[in-house]
């Protein structure tokens, strides 16, 4: 199939590549741009391990064609940490044991990162509902929820202090 020229802004960097229009965004990120932090678990938009942020929304990158992503601004797990080190969500997942095998973790954190922008002080129910597109087979979610709630309050406290 004839390839098309795709331009993206990924984690703040302009990037370009050739890809077949039918290629999935997750494959473009992983195979063509070398960003393997975003994973694949089903390719049918059920598991959420492929979650990235596209134009300010969480998307399952296994359900976005390369052609659809052309021109988009994308944040992947590799772009969550800042210059000053791990993002609060990342350290909070570690602190509260919100991960085990780590396979769902990039999608979880990327989704939570958007969730907390949509709703900076969610209730436990809102976190559970807002994260329901991301499956985890290891943790039973309890510590993931805890990690996100702690990150939310830490982020609010930090913001208030600034």
């Amino acid at each position: 199939m004839k390839k098309m020229h795709i331009e993206l802004t990924v984690n703040g960097q302009p990037m370009e590549t050739l890809a077949e229009p039918r290629e999935l965004l997750v494959h473009v990120l992983r195979e063509r741009l070398g960003l393997t932090g975003t994973h694949i678990g089903c390719e049918t938009s059920h598991c959420g391990v492929c979650t990235v942020d596209m134009n300010g929304k969480s998307v399952k990158s296994c359900t976005v064609f390369a052609a659809q992503a052309n021109g988009a601004t994308i944040t992947t797990i590799e772009g969550i940490a800042g210059a000053d080190g791990m993002h609060i969500l990342q350290s909070s997942f570690r602190e509260h044991h919100g991960l085990q095998c780590g396979y769902c973790t990039p999608g979880m954190i990327t989704r939570a990162w958007r969730l907390l922008q949509e709703n900076p002080s969610p209730t436990e129910e809102e976190v559970r509902f807002g994260m329901a597109g991301n499956l985890c087979r290891c943790t039973g979610y309890q510590n993931i929820v805890k990690a996100i709630l702690h990150a939310a309050s830490e982020m609010s406290a930090k913001e208030a202090a600034e």
Binding site: H97, Q100, N134, N143
Partner: protein, 806 residues
């Protein structure tokens, strides 16, 4: 540790040794997208392989037309059984002593079976080409029911076994029969049943399901033709076993094979077995001289690799009128699918199903298991389970409930009066196991108190009265479970996989400046070994855990071990680690004695140093001893500070626990709302409470899925009905219950640090707790047994069949 001086306490805390909730060292990379899973591997010249799979559950293959596939640009080869036959690789041995087709040899036996392996330059080209391979099938009659498979006129599934009346586990009594395995005293048990005050009898089915880790199985095989070395990276829970199998199959010496398990995205038993994809990737790499990557998609995973359970357990339990259990009888029909590809220790074709007497002092018992072939996927793996312990625990915990109904007794009390007492340990079970230690009454009372059991029963009675009075449409169920596990396989004298004794190993190097590297024969799939094994060593050697690097999963560097499954890492490799640490300490003690110019016996160990007895200011730290080991000539001692330990466990370990689930069931919709779930685990000595709690949350959630909705079902044509995550239930954060964890601590007397293992307990104990709660809600309406999974529709159907929808 109350007798430690503050100084000692501070030093002990700094070690982050056993008992500390040390944060995980793995997390920095996983939270930043820097994990290294098999599909992340990219190599120069790497090509891809994928399977053409059978659409039919039973068919003869009359022809395979590959012309159109080969014409796709970038396609290099399409391998079929005939291409593998000259190498003898069109069939492969299974871990259960059977053999399995690598690629369809004349016929297919289950939907999704591998027919051809397409190899090409890109994934997309391979996917396109797979679609273009035309298979000419002649359909054959399909059997998906193990009872029908054993009928006289049933179609012959395994034509390759025609005329063979003996299998690897004894006589085959029918052409679709695999084995019969019997334990215990059948005549004595039947005599007890015949004379008993009360006998409860039921068929308990534990349905077919699948471990479904979020990362599927896969590998990259790379044959270097220059130096003759085969390297394979893959999702292997037992890398050394894979190396041995690869060597036996290919004839390549083990010294020229390197197997590497990189980060693994969950295993749960799915990644123990050897699958056709691994064999085909190796062959394709040998043929092409290029690295070949094979990664399952989710459908491949759910349809073809490693189902679990599918046990039909017919039980009879005898008791006195007062409720004292006098005997247990069980006959299990085990549906193994098309090939017997269970991953059990060789001498245990039904795994440790014989732990089915559970936590109870049952004087006499019998277990018979018949393994049967059907047109379903092969497997029978231990899905977060130690070889059929989940089935055993579900069976006995259902039978207890059914007996309680028959006796009109409270099920908690019935358990209590039958528990093995603390003073009976070590306890010989009627089916041949020696339980190492336990204190069931203490755990049970603690659990009942924690949930306010009496209060719950009172509330349930009120709810029932309200229901009967038409005031509510909701019923309340209280699900009890007291399970005993058998893990840590196992003693080499009776446990092996393909002849390899089930020991495990640890090798330690202490560097001159006092940090350390330890390598083990196990492999983490999320359990946090790099964190916890360092804690064991920290306590044993006095080196801070933060200065100990743990490595696993590379057969070129790690000592031989049998891998991680069946909750065996802590019981077996954990013991090897502790003992290797003790060898380090023993040598360090001689070094310290030399440096301090005293006799070895004049020294005592104090957290991280050797102190001259009675002279606390005279000491040498482990760090100092390590340095001396490399820079001093010590008479009678070799330089260096290294140790290796291969640990052959003298017995299994027997973790146990008490779980209680409370749920509210909407009779009209069948929706079950889990109100609370309490899990008390006793896994002996606790190495890292934070990680234990995480294991319990995760295992209980897998139990919730299995009990309440997850299954792999087939229609009469052998079509797999649950081959995507649309149809295969994995709970989300929304419906997953909240867990309360608790513990008691009864160390294993035979384990060097008293640890028993915990990873699988919550799955073993969780399933009966959830299922018993559903049954309990309907107990007063006459329900004795309804098969899992208890999805909304099935719960609605229970209510409907009991006439509650009038």
């Amino acid at each position: 540790m109350n007798d430690l001086t503050p100084d000692q306490t501070a030093r002990a805390t700094a070690l982050k040794g056993m008992g500390s909730s040390r944060k995980r060292v793995e997390d920095a990379r996983f939270t930043q997208g820097k994990g290294n899973y098999v599909d992340d591997i990219k190599m120069t010249g790497m090509i891809y392989g994928d399977f053409v799979r059978s659409q039919y559950a039973h068919a003869r293959i009359k022809g395979v037309d590959t012309a159109a596939a080969l014409a796709v640009p970038g396609i290099i080869a399409v391998l079929q059984a005939a291409d593998l036959a000259p190498l003898g690789l069109h069939w492969m041995p299974t871990l259960a002593g059977d053999k399995q087709m690598v690629l369809a040899d004349g016929k297919v036996l289950f939907q999704g079976q591998e027919i051809a392996f397409v190899v090409g330059e890109t994934r997309a080209a391979v996917a396109d080409a797979c679609e273009l391979v035309v298979v000419d099938y002649e359909e054959l009659p399909v059997v998906v029911d193990p009872f029908k498979a054993m009928a006289a006129g049933a179609p012959v599934l395994r034509e390759d076994l025609a005329g063979q009346t003996k299998g690897p586990h004894g006589d085959r009594i029918h052409h679709n029969h695999i084995f019969r395995w019997e334990v215990g005293d059948k005549p004595a048990t039947e005599a007890v049943l015949a004379g008993a005050d009360v006998v409860a009898e039921e068929m308990v089915y534990y349905h077919r399901t699948h471990p479904c880790p979020l990362e599927t199985c896969g590998c990259v095989a790379s044959m270097d033709k220059i130096n003759g070395k085969l390297t394979m990276w893959g999702t292997f829970q037992a890398p050394h076993v894979v190396r041995t199998v690869a060597s036996l199959l290919s004839g390549i010496p083990e010294s020229s094979i390197r197997i590497v398990s990189p980060d693994i995205g969950g295993g749960f038993g799915n990644k123990v077995g050897v699958y056709p994809g691994y064999v085909c990737a190796i062959v394709a790499s040998i043929v092409t001289g290029r690295p070949v990557k094979w990664i399952e998609d989710r459908m491949d995973n759910l349809m073809a690799t490693a189902f679990a359970r599918d046990y039909w357990m017919h039980g009879k339990i005898a008791a006195t009128a007062e409720g004292k259990i006098t005997g247990l009888w069980c006959h299990t029909t085990a549906d193994h699918g098309a090939f017997d590809a269970c991953a059990d220790p060789t001498k245990f074709p039904a795994g440790f199903m014989s732990i089915c007497t559970g936590s109870y002092d049952i004087p006499v018992a019998y277990l018979g298991v018949d393994g049967v072939y059907t047109n379903k996927a092969p497997g029978g793996v231990a899905y977060r389970c130690s070889f059929r312990v989940t089935e055993a625990a579900y069976f006995i915990e259902r039978m207890i409930e059914i007996l309680a109904i028959k006796l009109n007794m409270d099920a908690a009390e019935l358990r209590r009066i039958n528990f093995i007492r603390k003073d009976q340990f070590p306890y010989q079970s009627a089916l041949g196991w020696e339980y190492d230690s336990g204190d069931y009454h203490t755990a049970w009372d603690k659990a009942l108190k924690a949930v306010n059991y009496t209060g719950l029963r009172a509330e349930q009675a009120t709810r029932l009265a309200d229901f009967k009075a038409g005031k509510t449409r909701s019923l309340m169920g209280i699900g009890l479970c007291h399970f005993t596990e058998i893990v840590g396989a196992g003693p080499v004298k009776n446990c092996d996989i393909l002849g390899m004794g089930m020991f495990d190993s640890c090798e330690i190097r202490i560097h001159p400046t006092g940090s350390a590297l330890a390598r083990l024969g196990t492999i983490s799939q999320g359990q946090g070994h790099a964190t916890t094994f360092a804690q064991i060593l920290a306590t044993e050697t006095g080196i801070p855990a933060d200065q100990i690097t743990i490595e696993e999963g590379d057969t070129d560097t790690a000592p031989y071990g049998l891998g991680t499954y069946g909750s065996r890492s802590t019981p077996v490799a954990g013991a090897a680690t502790a003992l290797a640490g003790r060898k380090i300490r023993a040598k360090a003690q001689m070094i310290a004695a030399y440096l301090l110019e005293v006799h070895d016996n004049d020294l005592e160990w104090d957290v991280d140093r050797f102190v001259v007895k009675g002279v606390p200011e005279r000491f040498k730290t482990m760090k100092e001893c390590a340095y001396a080991a490399y820079n001093q000539a010590i008479p009678g001692l070799e330089p260096g500070l290294e140790a290796v330990s291969y640990y052959d466990p003298p017995n299994m370990t027997y973790p146990f626990g008490a779980y209680i689930c409370v749920m509210d069931i909407d009779v009209d919709t069948g929706v079950a709302d889990i109100r609370s779930f309490y899990a008390l685990d006793d896994c002996g000595t606790r190495i890292n409470p934070m990680i234990i709690e995480g294991q319990v949350h995760g295992g209980a959630t897998e139990a919730y899925a299995i009990a309440m909705g997850q299954e792999v079902a087939y229609d009469e044509m052998g079509n797999c009905m649950n081959s995507t995550l649309m149809d295969f239930f994995l709970p989300t954060a929304w419906e997953t219950p909240h867990y309360t964890t608790d513990h008691t601590e009864t160390p294993s007397p035979h384990h060097p640090i008293g640890a028993k293992g915990v990873g699988e307990s919550p799955n073993v104990g969780g399933v009966p707790a959830f299922s018993n709660a559903v049954h309990d809600a309907f107990r007063s309406f006459g329900l004795t047994q309804s098969h899992m999974p208890h999805d909304h529709w099935r719960i609605w159907r229970i209510a409907n069949q009991l006439g509650l929808h009038e």
